[in-house]
């Protein structure tokens, strides 16, 4: 075991080891905490619906929603459900699928070692049968229906669909009732073997643990198993035009008030490492300066009744896609969209205010300290960052380097009508 990476200002130490089979393991001891929290994540998400299966030559398209379906099915074993196993060991377990990742996790306040063994083993021992695959279609069908009725989810995906023409990020993570009907056990195994190779995965453990013992345990666990030689996963080139696909869409739903989001599609993607980290942070700072609660724009829009306390904004970027979202509940969606765009255009001309940028940086540093109180946040974000060759613990030093020039340059890319789109959920008129 090597020396830990020290984060002196934060008073944290991070231990890292790459196992012989390529698995990256990180341990962050958290003294004083009761909870041990571990995530075991594969770099495989809903956007990976086309790839060359392990040991084959040809690109293959799989049904939408299969990564998420696989996440559900991995919990089922020949002798029952892993949920139950964790429960018996006093732990709670869960999993989630995003555009780019599938994560399995447990948290417990006792028997951390046993639970860690269960976590690693269940993810590395798939067991799918036709019968259980069929049964799962009913459950996931209900999950899909639940999200279909959720206006905020429809708003979020509606906006992404507006932005992208071909990129699979526009496909709902769970797929559709129709698409999942084509999932079979063989397809699940094919996806599993391609993406769940240890070299495509990351294990993060945090809590009141002894890092040396954790690493030893994982080493011994992995030695007992055999895996094929790691291979680079072949994915298609995700070509996508720079500008948004659709400018403006409305979806009538059973809601009382409208919900409106303005989206900005990232013009150039393909970044990784510190460059990506800096861009993502800069974009969020710019949004904070322009739309944060202390901004004059927020105050004016609030006073004019254009927005309420659901108004928010966020920027996120991954290797092949990136977007900003700004908006919330409103009675005047057109006016909100118009003013939001104008604020961006004006900022592009005038640049950001230096003093407000400095305050936004300070605010973000405080927010970072708040979030590292949370083991969940550390594990999930660290993994996301690592899959993009970024380091979570670089956030503060990178924030401190961001200048007005960076912010203004970003606005030049951002505040471009061609990159912007609007999606609105509107109350349905009585259909009698």
């Amino acid at each position: 075991m090597g020396k830990p990476i020290q984060f002196e200002q934060l008073q944290e130490e991070l231990y890292h080891e790459k196992m012989d089979n390529g698995l990256n393991v990180y341990v962050l001891p958290k003294k004083g905490f009761n909870k041990t929290y571990a995530t075991f994540t594969t770099k495989y998400g809903s956007i990976d619906n086309e790839f060359v299966p392990l040991g084959q030559e040809e690109m293959k398209k799989v049904p939408d929603g299969i990564a998420h379906f696989l996440e559900h099915k991995l919990f089922e074993k020949e002798d029952g459900d892993v949920f139950q196993q964790f429960g018996k060991q006093g732990a709670s377990s869960n999993a989630f699928t995003s555009f780019t990742r599938t994560a399995y996790l447990f948290s417990s306040t006792s028997d951390a070692e046993k639970n860690l063994e269960t976590l690693i083993d269940f993810v590395q021992e798939p067991y799918f049968t036709e019968k259980s695959v069929e049964k799962e279609k009913g459950i996931i069908g209900q999950e899909i229906n639940m999200y279909d009725d959720n206006p905020d989810w429809r708003l979020y995906f509606g906006l992404i669909e507006n932005m992208y023409e071909k990129h699979p990020v526009k496909i709902d993570i769970a797929g559709t009732v129709e698409s999942i009907s084509h999932i079979t056990k063989d397809l699940l195994y094919e996806c599993y073997h391609t993406f769940y190779h240890p070299s495509n995965m990351l294990l993060f453990v945090t809590g009141p643990v002894d890092p040396e013992r954790v690493l030893k345990q994982v080493r011994e666990n992995q030695k007992k198993k055999t895996f094929e030689e790691p291979q680079t996963i072949k994915r298609p080139e995700l070509s996508e035009k720079a500008e948004v696909d659709k400018k403006d869409e409305k979806l009538p739903m059973n809601v009382q008030s409208s919900k409106c989001l303005v989206g900005i599609k990232a013009k150039e993607t393909g970044l990784s490492g510190e460059e990506l980290l800096k861009k993502e942070l800069t974009a969020n700072l710019v949004l904070d300066v322009l739309f944060g609660k202390s901004s004059s724009h927020f105050q004016t829009m609030y006073s004019n009744g254009l927005i309420d306390d659901t108004f928010s904004y966020d920027y996120t970027e991954e290797e092949t896609f990136g977007f900003a979202m700004i908006g919330g509940d409103t009675d005047q969606p057109e006016e909100l969209a118009k003013q939001t765009k104008e604020i961006l255009f004006k900022a592009r001309e005038e640049g950001v205010d230096q003093e407000r940028l400095n305050t936004a940086i300070k605010k973000r540093i405080g927010a970072f300290l708040r979030s590292v109180n949370s083991p969940e946040y550390i594990a999930n974000q660290f993994t996301r960052y690592a899959f993009n060759d970024m380091n979570l613990f670089d956030v503060v030093p990178v924030l401190e380097q961001i200048t007005k020039q960076d912010a203004d340059a970003l606005l030049q890319q951002f505040a471009d009508e061609k990159q912007m789109t609007v999606f609105t959920v509107v109350p349905k008129k009585e259909d009698k």
């Binding site: 200002q9 934060l10 008073q11 004083g32 905490f33 009761n34 909870k35 949920f83 139950q84 429960g87 018996k88 060991q89 006093g90 732990a91 709670s92 377990s93 948290s107 417990s108 306040t109 006792s110 799962e136 009913g138 459950i139 996931i140 209900q142 999950e143 229906n145 639940m146 279909d148 009725d149 959720n150 059973n254 809601v255 009382q256 008030s257 944060g292 202390s294 901004s295 004059s296 105050q299 609030y302 006073s303 009744g305 309420d308 306390d309 659901t310 305050t359 936004a360 300070k362 605010k363 540093i365 405080g366 927010a367 300290l369 708040r370 590292v372 109180n373 083991p375 349905k428 259909d431």
Partner: protein, 429 residues
Amino acid sequence: MSFFQEKQTKLNGITVHTVKTDKYKTNTLVLKMMAPLKKENVTKRAILPFILQRATERFRTTGELRNHLDELYGASLFADLSKKGENQIITFRMEVANEKFLSEKTPLLEEAISLLSDILLRPLLKGSAFDDGIVKEEIRTLKQRIQAAYDDKMRYSNLRLVQEMCKNEPYALHVNGEKDQADDLTAENVYEYYQQVLKEDKLDLYLIGDFKEAAAGEMVKKYFDFSANTHAYPETEQASKQHVEEKEVIEEEDVKQGKLNIGYRTNCLYNDDSYFALQVFNGIFGGFSHSKLFINVREKASLAYYAASRVESHKGLLMVMSGIEVGNYDQAVSIIKEQMAAMKNGDFTDDDLNQTKGVIRNQLLETIDTSYGLSEILYQNVAANSERTFDELLDGISHVTKEEVVESASKIELDTIYFLKGKGAQNNG
């Protein structure tokens, strides 16, 4: 071994609770204000925290106030409302970086205490009323907040169940107030109510983090310098338990998925001895993914993505919730009823019992890993007027026997079945 130490002091009518711990990178302040849920006050009370956090004597616009928070390394400030039994509780929560992790040594904790006291005691006034413009804006936001509950069908069906089940009880009131009362709010009448709040509310302030307790105490004393209130509490207006008669309410909305919510009376409150057994009951019945509801409704019958239950500790309710196909209503209801009957018959194993106790213990220990969770657990005592320590809580759970679980099950009565029936999927997509 104790997990933490809570120290309590009385100060000008506020109870100050401090927990010193070096677990966090931040210090947390939580101010809780409790008063009985009353129809005539519910909406005034719902708007009050949102008016208070808009501006103060010192920070006369919301922009200035929010900018000050940003300058304090992004100190966070949130207001929200909740119900505990027949009480309506306002919570202000602030979290501020501990300066020991910053290169610049600003006295952030003192600034935070000072700001929180300003918000409570020194709001922006125009004459002897709140600022009229702010009140008008907050009325609009309040109405939207009330409306938003109708847009999330999961929340909506739960709300409807409570309204149907607790008709004629204060608990039926919505925590965010009533929309038809919102237009009657004025800068004057809310201010008048605010003065009553300062005199009568039960006030509790939690300070959690790594700070010098004596110094923090002095700061609270210095900034919360108002005359002692005479809070009318505890009023112990006990939930009147009427004769329970099973009823079924079915409503139709344009949704794909039907929402099934079932309410039971537990006849057990937080400070009852049988509370521990009720918690274990709920864990075996529907609280977790190893519970009967999850296994039988979701895993075996494949009817739902979620099927769970939770306990309203201070009101004595047990609520079941699930999302199902409309056509599966009868089947889902009968499976849920069967699981309740099984619980009453003691149809569960020692393994189920022990596993559930383990998971509840886990959950409690995890809750106190966050400063907010810790303050919520500590506040349970205040809300229930009890003095149960955290160790007693853990201990209580661990000693529950199978007989006690069956005993607590026997007291549970089905009150209302609420079904929000979807119109089906034909008009969607």
